[in-house]
Structures are given as structure tokens and as C-alpha cells.
């Protein structure tokens, strides 16, 4: 694979690979909740971990982002958005849960 000029078979294979991975990860996440075999906190951690992996799979195979070949503006924007998301979501959760713990 080099540059944007892939063959048609490579392109179809990329989408099919992404689809296969996505189905497997989704199936695993639903299965582990439907047939619980771990403590609930472990299950939650596994589900969130699988979701993170699946998001990476979607970015890689469906949105076709790659660290080596994508335009640096696109990558910088993804990293910036990820930074904002992590800061705001974790900040919100930490502050509000802390506040709740103090008020209870």
C-alpha cells in the first residue's frame, strides 16, 4: 500500500476487514454483558476497553486515518479534539462525583 492510489481489491478488503473486526468486537461486548462471567466493575472496564478498540478500528478502516499517510492537519485536529474530550469529560466526572461524595 502506498499513497492514495490503492487497488480496488485493497479498498474493498479495507472495508471488509473493518467490518469483520467491528462485528467481532461488538459481539464480544454484548456477549460479556449478556452472559456475565466477571464482577460488574470488571465487565464495565472490558466493555469500555472494547469500545475504545472498536473506535480505533473504525477510524483506521472506515475513515482510513493512518499516522503515516494522513494529512497532518487531519491528525492534529483528531488529537486536539481527543485532548478536549478527555479534559472536559474526565474533568466533569471527577468534579461532580467529588461534589456528590462530599454532599452525601
Amino acid at each position: 500500500m502506498s499513497g492514495p492510489n490503492l487497488s480496488k481489491r485493497d479498498e474493498i478488503r479495507s472495508y471488509a476487514t473493518g467490518y469483520g473486526f467491528a462485528l467481532a468486537l461488538t459481539g464480544a461486548a454484548f456477549a460479556i454483558v449478556h452472559w456475565p462471567s466477571f464482577a460488574s466493575i470488571t465487565t464495565l472496564a472490558i466493555v469500555l476497553g472494547l469500545a475504545l478498540v472498536q473506535m480505533v478500528v473504525h477510524f483506521r478502516f472506515f475513515l482510513q486515518i493512518s499516522f503515516r499517510k494522513s494529512a497532518s492537519d487531519d491528525l492534529r485536529l483528531i488529537l486536539f479534539a481527543a485532548l478536549i474530550v478527555i479534559l472536559m469529560v474526565s474533568g466533569t466526572l471527577v468534579i461532580i462525583f467529588n461534589l456528590r461524595a462530599r454532599m452525601m
Binding site: 474493498i12 472495508y15 461488538t26 454484548f30 464495565l44 469500545a51 473504525h58 472506515f62 475513515l63 485536529l77
Partner: protein, 208 residues
Amino acid sequence: MTASDIRHAGLNLGDTDELTHEQAGRALFGFWVFLMSDAVLFALLFATYGVMVSATAGGPTPALEYKILPAFLETLTLLTSSFTFGMTSVTMKRGASRRQLLAWMGLTLVLGAAFLGMELHDFADMFGDAAYPTRSGYLSSFFALVPLHGLHVFFGIIWIAVMMMQVMVFGLDAPVKINILRLGLFWHFLDIVWIAIFSVVYLQGLIR
């Protein structure tokens, strides 16, 4: 390394249409900015949901309201529609027959509509259980987050229909191709938001 070795997000036209490929890089970057700002908006609604999920005010709880089978079927439908949109992009790029292109787009549209139908059915069930947005903080945040994704899918469906008409009326000229590339980014992005929804909202609510 020339400019055309660097890839924009989504499928690249590359050497199948050099001229449009040059324009697409700039055109798609603007759309990429919109998608990332939309991602931040969704992330904040997820944070709100995470804070509110235990605030059920004695009303319906997540474990009572969510059902695993519909959530699973909705996920499969949306995932499959992401794959069929991938095939739409490849068909468009490789200049296959217009009928083939319209068939993949139509299939994506039908899958999107099926997803939306199932989701609305879920919401109707929840309303039937008196789980409406004003009942509790948990339900307010649920109905702010999940239907917003549904609304995106709804506009995605309209956009697919519009693009099918543009393909029929204008054929595959540069603006139509670039619009289909944009629509592809939008559709795949919605699937990524749904991953977060089925994991954080549905599966988290159903863990025993």
C-alpha cells in the same frame, strides 16, 4: 513525496480523478473540522449522562428500560450500513455503473431507516413505561444524548436521498463526488458515536 501522496480522511480518489482529488483535500478538511466539533458536543452529553445516570428520582432505571436484543440489532444494522457506505465510496471511485452505485446507496439508506425505526420503537416503549424526559435527571440526559444521534442519522438519510437524486440528475461530476466523500465521513462518524452509545449507555445500564 508529492502532495498527492498525503491522504485526506475517508476514501481518496487518488489517480482515478486527479483534478477532483486536488479539490477534495481542502473541501473535506472543513467538514472534518465540523465532525470533530460535533464529537466534542457528543462527548459533553456523554459526560452529562455519566453524571445523571444514577439520578433516577425513584422512577424508571436503566436496567429496567434497556433491552439487549434491540440494542444489538440496531448496532448490527448501523455497522452493516457503514460497510455498505464503504462499498458506495469504492463503487463511486471506480466508475462502476450508475445502477450499482445507486443500489449501494439505496441499501445504506434502507439500513439507516431500519435503524431509525427500531430506535423510535424503543423510545415509544420507554414512553409507554412512563419513562419520558421530564421524569428524572437520568431520563433528561438520556433523551438529550441518544435522540440527538438519531437526529443525525435522520439527516444522514435525507442527505443520502439528496445525493441519489444528484447522481441521477447531474451524474458523477466533481461537486457530486466530493459531496459523497463528505457524506461518507459523516456516516462513518455516526457509527463511531453509536459505539460510545451502545457501550456507555445500553451495556453499562444492563451490566448486573
